[in-house]
Symmetry: C2
Subunit: 207 residues, 2 copies
DNA sequence: GAGCTTTCGCTACGAGTCGTAGCGTAATAC
DNA sequence: GTATTACGCTACGACTCGTAGCGAAAGCTC
């Protein structure tokens, strides 16, 4: 997860329990202290490991928090709810529930801010968080096309553009609602949002 | 701006030049160092003022960066471009141009992350940044209703809900596109986005 | 078991930043 | 002139950082 295993077959293996303890301690510290006041020494104490162990596994605070927050998004799923509208509403509510947690709020935005000046960090975020969400968009779209709710797009370039647009609109709206506006993305809001988005998409696909 | 002037009529007044120098130095440091490596001592040196002067005016790094970033959004305007679509495209492009600057990217997201654990900071961000953008949404909507492009909404509660939704969709999509996806919100993207949004809004208002 | 390899916990360290206090000086209002 | 406030400067203890070195522990191979 955090560092490549360079084919080290011999020697004492790294404690997997330490990994989970460290990541859980990181989330706990994020809740209590927030990003700026979180220190690696404190995380090590909470996890019951030595500070040096942390530095042996992660390059720094950024990488550690990315991994700790990424685990929160593992629970994202997209079960078939029968219609595109229901699928969107379901996954948006899941996404909103994750973002409602304090460790996600402060942690996620902070690492995104740092990633604007660190290409490696940006790539790490993309691989462990963004990519997974993008797959959900692709899955939901393919499902809707099978149902006939969305027309098939033959041009791969335009298709990619549409997927990117949908992704930014969905994830961006939920994030902005939760973090900037500071209001809950509850069922009422999600219903309104899904309605506008679907009408826009079907209308744009009409011509 | 940063601290209330408690009716202090006598004594040496605060240097206004120092204010602008400090805020400019803060943005410069944001570009070169990013949020996490930015130190108040460094900003003071760049601005040519003593470190103590900084602490006399701002409570800390968060408040300073909010003020420094807020000035970037002063240039947001909403000239009448003749149609709702043109108005939206214009202001979104302006917004995207601001967010493309490195000082806005790293600074804005960082203070938003911090604001999740600091109510006073959240209020400060709302007053100096978010509120101004919200006014643009209201202005554009009123103009579109005069043109007949959007129906008037009599119910004030539902009207407020719609405005909030539009605001989160517009600002959220641009921010997510620029900062998370890491792709430019160029004219092509803005055109696609505006099309979907407008179709969704007019469709949602139809019934 | 013996021996090798890697990880772990612990301690200590210099370097850097924080936010504040104290002082003398500069600039304005009355 | 005098009062009042802001300013620049220095110094300070407290804290965090990231690293180095050490002995002990845990696993693999033979």
């Amino acid at each position: 997860m955090q560092s490549r295993t360079p084919a080290s077959r011999t020697g004492r293996p790294r404690s997997a329990a330490a990994d989970t303890a460290i990541l859980a301690a990181t989330r706990e510290a994020l809740v209590e202290l927030g990003w700026s006041k979180l220190t690696l020494g404190d995380v090590a104490t909470r996890a019951g490991v030595a500070k040096t162990t942390l530095y042996r596994r992660w390059a720094g605070k950024n990488e550690l928090v990315v991994d700790a927050v990424a685990e929160l998004f593992d629970e994202l799923e997209l079960p078939d709810r029968g219609s595109l509208a229901a699928d969107i509403e379901g996954v948006v509510l899941q996404f909103a529930a994750i973002l409602a947690r304090p460790e996600a709020k402060s942690g996620l935005m902070a690492v995104v801010a740092e990633s604007t000046r660190d290409d490696a960090l940006r790539e790490r975020i993309r691989d462990s968080i963004v990519e997974r969400q993008m797959c959900l968009v692709l899955e939901g779209r393919a499902r809707a096309q099978l149902r006939g709710e969305l027309p098939p797009e033959p041009d791969p370039r335009e298709s990619a553009r549409t997927v990117d647009l949908i992704f930014d609109m969905v994830a961006g709206a939920v994030v902005h609602r939760t973090l900037v506006s500071g209001k809950p993305a509850d069922e009422e809001w999600v219903r309104d949002f899904t309605r506008v988005l679907l009408l826009g998409l079907s209308g744009a696909a009409a011509d």
